[in-house]
């Protein structure tokens, strides 16, 4: 079996307009990459939103996935706490195994 290495996977679900800011926070925290996925609809706080049903797009969310080392993940969490105090969003971290650890 291919050898695997422990890393962290950060998943940030955040408003679309805050995605760029979140990306900068991640970069400053030392991660080497991240990927932004679109969301279609969602529920929170008793309200639902739906991308195609709101021409202003002001409730749109995205999911940002970032695989990174434990240190960078820890720094990222510290820095994201502040962003999340201001913008709508949630963040999760969990352990994952990766191939090719030198990539992160």
């Amino acid at each position: 079996m291919a050898e695997t290495y422990a890393m962290k996977r950060i998943e940030l679900i955040v408003e679309r307009m805050a995605a760029r800011r979140a990306g900068r926070v991640l970069q400053e925290s030392g991660v080497t990459g991240y990927t932004v996925l679109p969301a279609l609809e969602g529920y929170g706080n008793g309200q639902t939103w739906r991308r195609d049903a709101d021409i202003s797009g002001s409730s749109d969310m995205v999911a940002i996935v970032c695989v990174t080392s434990a240190e960078a993940a820890s720094a990222a969490l510290d820095n994201l706490a502040q962003l999340l105090a201001e913008q709508i969003g949630i963040v999760t971290v969990n352990d994952v195994q990766v191939l090719r650890p030198e990539r992160f």
């Binding site: 021409i55 202003s56 002001s58």
Partner: protein, 329 residues
Amino acid sequence: METALATLLSPIILFFLLGLGAALLRSQTTVPEAFAKGLAIYLMMAIGLKGGVEMAKNPLTIEVVAVLIAGIILSFAIPVLAFAILRATTRLNATDAAAAAAHYGSISIVTFVAATDALERLGVEASGHLVAVAALMEAPAIISALVIISRMDRQPKDRASAMADADRGELVREVLLNASVVVLLGALFIGWIAGEEGTAGIAPFFTGLFQGVLCLFLLDMGLSAGRGLRNGWRQLGFGTIAFGLYMPVVSACIAAIIAWALGMPAADAALLITLTASASYIAVPAAMRLALPKARPSVYLTLSLGITFPFNVIFGIPLYIGMANFVAG
């Protein structure tokens, strides 16, 4: 009265009502976001080109410049008034009030177009430079709202509230170079230098189809407005809902006085009044998510898209045309 009826029977308004009704009945009908955004770009290109071609027909006079400046001043000033009214009459906090105020200072290009369409149905046409006015009125209101909030917040900023440079850069680009400013002003300029002859080849697309595309777009606006209204109205107090109905009229009166002072022709006055009375629902919400993330979209968007937009499109436009005839008469 006649104007009002003519407006209401326009297919554009009827499709808006269709979308509004379907969304209120909880139909899941939607226009895909990517398609609607594509149509929005088309509409802005078409509006800009038309305005530019019209502008090319006449020299740039001092009167034109005066109207441009008046529009910018109105966009800066209305948020100050709207903020004061909201703080005095509703329980919205300063951030929510400032964000909502920014929407009312800025403009809705679809309301502008619906007014142009109503004028055309009455057989009159406004000058091309009103498109430039529309483009220039987008951004000042946002700046105004941010100044209001920064004045209120006198305590020394900690790292959390001070904006990072990169964030500020993003905001500035979003305010000054957002899609509608770029496309509207760009197309205006292209129409202006290419002129009627240079744009003849693209006229079937941008002129012939304009009203039809607008129907499709307004169906989508109706669906959005209806859904916003259904989800959001419970979160607004009575005072806030009322604001969404009288504020456009207040703005319209101010613009009417200015139009009168500038001696604008009736059709131009009608459009300046409509622009001032209209509230943004695309450019400003996006800027507010960047600049004032704590302001609640469910407040400002329900107001501008769910209440003021339908009010303007159905009742406001005939009223504003009437006001314009009065002040220009």
